[in-house]
């Protein structure tokens, strides 16, 4: 979620009142943003993805002003008629289908304003517009453009001068050489490319990559042309509305643009009915229609009491987060103040119970603890070297790996626990022996029959490291384990490269192998940097549990 540094002076100017830092620090977190800090000049705040309208000073001040009780209800925006028109060619459907435009006039633009405009545009691109995929915004100097505009497609050899460029470049060059082109080329990876052209065939924009140089906004610009294109119509319209509201709050006048017969912006509020008893039931409050209306107005929504039980709510065009009446209930809760909710104990009577696996694991752990074994807890994520190579094993074909681990030391899921305990021994050679350790937990391996193609089982492993540790002492542990769980575990000669030949056995339960026991091979001990004998065992607990609870 993005953190934005808002110009404090601007925010207070838009609120129209000086608010102390103390009040700001108290109120800002309670409106549904995460305050990071306030300095003399800046309010640093994390805006959650549900409120992209608060990414700029104008929108932030709009929300805060209502929340502070300094403004009530839906803010009105007038859209002026105009003759501005644009057309969309059908060829854009397969590259970047949706395009809208609007004109804003009469702005007082200085360099600070341009900076802020670029910041909000960028933040909207990265969050709400999913890195320009769903939508991309272009801001242009209206007075450099001749109408009607045309949103069409061109081939890779089409040339124009990109923003901040001096020379003409072909689209192909832009996509392979220009930093913006390289960053977003994957979004227009087709044989034709979307462009906005003006009436004189000058390039306004090559969305979502870069604008044309001749429409650049400068400190002399008074009037803006906004274009938004994208692959998701809803996101395109929301992005336009957020920009329009921002620029209108900054003093601009909105003029509609006719794009292939539809006039933009569409800033008509969405209507939603709210059942007051629904809100009260969810919140545990007993608000009447009047207070519900008041709270909704505080949140910058329009609200009208239809009856004692129903309120009609007008949702402004820049609020992207209201999908369901429950979202209105949240706005009421925020206006009411999360800090004002009293906690309440529910009288729903239910009976608690632990899972069978939890009970079983606890019993098994207690048994091992009684035998002076220390429980270890390690990560489920590990690597093939730990699991196999250091244990003298070939890497299993059933090893489950992650596709994208940041940390390559932990790029695979453990399919056994014994090797993890060996790693722990290797990290504890400075501590006193004997060291008797165990770990019980989940192990993971490929299994095409499961929903995820991966199966998860529970194992337990134990090691005993010390001068007197040997096969017999570990066998005694397994026998105590079997005796106390009332299962018959048999031992059968076995060869396993992790263990000394002739000092290793399979553990058998009802004719099926459920584990292995042995004295670790000197080569394995050397691999782990150990200079004491180690006896170890690993048991598939899931199978033992099945036998115990059958």
């Amino acid at each position: 979620m993005p953190t934005v540094n808002l110009n404090k002076k601007k925010v207070l100017e838009y609120i129209g009142k000086n608010i102390s830092d103390e009040v700001l620090s108290e109120k800002i977190p309670m409106i549904g943003t995460d305050l990071e800090g306030i300095t003399a000049d800046e309010i640093s705040v994390e805006i959650f993805p549900n409120r992209p309208d608060m990414l700029c000073e104008e929108g932030f001040a709009r929300a805060l002003k209502g929340f502070l009780g300094l403004e009530k209800g839906l803010r009105k925006y007038d859209v002026n008629k105009s003759d501005y028109t644009a057309t969309i060619d059908s060829s854009v459907v397969k590259v970047r289908e949706f395009a809208v435009a609007t004109v804003i006039k009469g702005l007082d633009i200085d360099s600070d304003f341009i900076t802020r405009l670029m910041q909000v545009q960028e933040k909207l691109h990265t969050t709400h517009s999913r890195n320009r995929k769903s939508a991309a915004i272009g801001v242009h100097d209206l007075d450099t453009v001749s109408f009607p505009l045309r949103y069409t497609t061109k081939g890779k050899d089409f040339k124009f001068i990109p923003l901040e460029g001096k020379n003409e470049m072909t689209i192909e060059e832009i996509l392979t050489v220009h930093p913006k082109g390289k960053a977003y080329a994957h979004l227009v990876d087709k044989d034709v490319y979307p462009v906005w052209l003006d009436a004189k065939d000058k390039v306004v924009s090559f969305p979502p990559i870069i604008n044309g140089a001749h429409t650049t906004v400068t400190e002399n610009t008074k009037n803006l042309l906004l274009d938004v294109t994208g692959t998701d119509e809803k996101v395109v319209l929301q992005a336009l509305n957020i920009m329009v509201a921002m620029l209108a709050d900054a003093g601009g006048k909105i003029y509609e643009v006719d794009v292939s017969g539809s006039k933009y912006p569409i800033i008509v509020p969405k209507l939603m009915e709210l059942d007051i008893s629904y809100a009260n039931r969810l919140l545990g409050l007993e608000l009447d229609a009047g207070s519900v209306v008041d709270y909704l107005l505080m949140m910058g929504l329009g609200a009208k009491k239809l009856s004692d039980s129903v309120v009609e709510v007008s949702i402004p065009c820049y609020r992207t987060d209201i999908l369901h009446p429950m979202d209105l209930v949240e706005d009421i809760a925020i206006a009411y103040g999360y800090e004002n909710f009293e906690s309440e104990m529910s009288d729903a009577t239910t009976v608690g119970s632990e899972s069978q696996k939890t009970v079983f694991l606890r019993k098994v752990s207690e048994l091992l603890v009684g035998l002076s074994y220390l429980e270890c807890k390690s990560f489920h994520m590990t690597n093939a070297k730990t699991l196999f190579e250091k244990m003298n094993h070939e890497v299993s074909k059933d090893l489950v790996r992650t596709a994208n681990a940041v940390n390559i030391e932990y790029d695979a899921m453990r399919d056994r626990l014994l090797s993890g305990l060996m790693k722990i021994l290797s990290e504890n050679t400075h501590n006193e022996y004997p060291q008797n350790l165990f770990e019980a937990g989940t192990v993971i391996s490929h299994d095409d029959s499961s929903e995820t193609n991966v199966s998860e089982n529970t194992n337990i492993a134990m090691v005993s490291a010390g001068l007197t540790s040997d096969f017999s002492s570990m066998k005694a542990v397994i026998e105590t384990f079997a005796l106390n769980l009332d299962v018959a575990i048999g031992f059968e000669e076995h060869e396993d490269p992790s263990f000394i030949s002739g000092r290793c056995a399979k553990l058998i339960l009802s004719g099926v192998q459920i584990g292995v026991i042995g004295e670790l091979h000197p080569e394995v001990l050397v691999n782990w940097g150990l200079d004491v004998p180690v006896a170890g065992a690993e048991i598939e607990l899931s199978k033992v549990m099945d036998a115990v609870f059958k």
């Binding site: 899972s355 220390l374 998860e456």
Partner: protein
């Protein structure tokens, strides 16, 4: 005197034998007594100090010249001075050829003998012959001053200063200043020494002592109860397990059933069923671990159809996310990023007639982050849901407050937050009494109808929370580097304090 008669002294074996011996000698030194009593010096000192504390003897410490015979000095007592041994060899054994005289340190002996004019050397063939002078014969007949002085030292008789220097020069004695502890009896000591009985002391209770009743006659040697002993190490549950068991108990006490399920899930359960849109940033590679397997299966067709519809077009009340929901994206396989997967799966398996129900889970979750002192890529989350037609936001706060109160945090507050699957969404914070600041512990809220309806079939409020546990555990165990929770340092596992709730 009357005082000491009334007193009973619980004297140990060493103390008794020391007292009795000193009573015979009246006065002695620690150095002398160790040989006499046959116990080591440290034991004599310990016994003497105990007796001195009881007023039975006095210890006088002074620095004294302590003279002791060297090995050579002891040889002189036995065999005479080297020059005397030389003369002895010549006279008694009739050996005159120098190279044939077989005594220790022959050349030193010859040096001293010549120096005092006791012998003369004469050339004889290729060798030298030794001839004893008349002075030498006189010398041989009587004990020399040196020999007498050494005997005096052995017998604790005084020796004059000049002679001490001579003896030192000839390396027959060592002489140095040492602290000498002189022990003298007191009158109380004399009395006790007469009355005290020597009881046999044993070190162990043995089966024999018990069987034949001898334990009644013996005294058990006193131990130094403050002396260090060799450490022993317990078998123990990992300290994180101990705390998790407590967390589990809190929810059990509040009537919650435990949920369990897999660490690895399809994106469908981890995201889609929780109304997380398919283009949500949380689903991107930098946050979520994707598993390198072929695509998973979406087995519950009815639930999948419901989830698809609510994402694409919503329902009577919700407008949904309004986009094309794709199977392929839902079939990717991930390490669960939250235990909320379990809540979704559980809700899909209950019926309206089961309500109200309360469930909890404690389990590992995964986030694709690099490992550092503040971040783990694998961590525990505690999950809870209350599915109840009468559930409300105030009760959510009630459950969380009750839980944190049992974890030792009395001040709990909530702030608005955002999660795609809850509404009201809140961030839960507790007030840290020591740091005097609010600490964020996790998210909570009421599941959106878009989550609940496709899974359960009806819209019922579901209170839900997923709280991180490592932060409060680190705090309890005073661990600043979060990685140390799972470092498995054997000495820490052995010594970390128990979870005391």
């Amino acid at each position: 005197m009357a005082e000491s008669e009334k007193k009973t002294y619980n004297l140990q074996y060493h103390e008794v034998i020391l007292l009795k011996k000193l009573s015979e000698m009246k006065q002695s030194t620690v150095i002398a007594l160790d040989k006499i009593l046959g116990i080591d010096q440290a034991a004599v000192v310990r016994a003497a100090m105990t007796l001195a504390q009881l007023g039975l003897l006095t210890i006088d410490e002074s620095d004294k010249m302590v003279v002791a015979l060297t090995r050579d000095g002891k040889t002189v007592i036995d065999k005479g001075l080297p020059e005397k041994q030389l003369i002895h060899a010549v006279i008694k054994d009739k050996v005159m050829i120098l190279s044939m005289i077989d005594i220790k340190d022959r050349n030193i002996a010859l040096g001293w003998a010549k120096k005092q004019g006791l012998v003369e050397l004469e050339k004889s063939d290729n060798d030298m012959a030794v001839k004893v002078t008349s002075k030498g014969l006189d010398f041989y007949k009587v004990k020399s001053d040196i020999e007498l002085a050494l005997e005096n030292i052995v017998n604790n008789k005084p020796v004059d200063k000049g002679m001490i220097e001579t003896l030192k020069k000839r390396r027959l004695i060592t002489a140095e200043f040492k602290t000498v502890r002189t022990l003298s009896m007191t009158k109380d000591g004399e009395k006790i020494a007469k009355s005290v009985k020597l009881v046999k002391e044993v070190s162990k209770v043995t089966p024999e002592l018990l069987k034949d009743g001898k334990w009644k006659e013996v005294k058990f040697r006193k131990y130094n109860v403050v002396a260090p002993v060799a450490p022993i190490y317990p078998g123990k549950k990992h300290f994180v397990s101990q705390s998790l068991e407590y967390v589990r108990r809190i929810w059990l006490e509040m009537g919650f059933k435990e949920m369990e399920g897999n660490l690895i899930a399809t994106s469908f359960w981890n995201f889609d069923a929780l109304f997380v849109p398919q283009n949500h940033p949380a689903r991107e590679m930098q946050d979520t671990f994707y598993v390198d397997v072929k695509e998973g299966r979406l087995s519950d067709k009815k639930v999948v159809a419901g989830v698809k519809k609510v994402h694409e077009t919503g329902d009577e009340e919700s407008c949904g996310w309004e986009y094309d929901w794709k199977d392929d994206e839902a079939k990717t396989v991930v390490l669960r990023t939250h235990t909320t997967v379990l809540s979704a799966q559980t809700i899909a398996n209950i019926k309206e007639s089961d309500l109200p129900v309360k469930y909890f889970a404690i389990g590992k979750c995964f986030r694709n982050e690099s490992l550092d002192w503040k971040h783990l890529f694998e961590f525990y989350q505690m999950e809870g849901i209350v599915v109840d037609k009468n559930a409300n936001f105030k009760q959510l706060l009630g459950y969380l407050k009750e839980f944190y109160k049992k974890m030792g945090y009395t001040a709990v507050r909530i702030r608005p937050a955002y999660f795609p699957y809850t509404e009201m969404s809140c961030e839960v914070e507790v007030f840290h009494p020591r740091k005097k600041e609010w600490v964020e512990l996790g998210g909570a809220g009421i599941f959106r109808p878009e989550v609940v309806k496709p899974l359960l079939g009806i819209d019922v409020p579901v209170l839900a929370w997923g709280q991180g546990l490592e932060r409060i555990l680190s705090e309890y165990y005073k661990i600043t580097d979060i990685r140390n929770l799972y470092k498995n340092d054997v000495s820490k596992l052995r010594s970390t304090k128990l979870w005391m709730w």
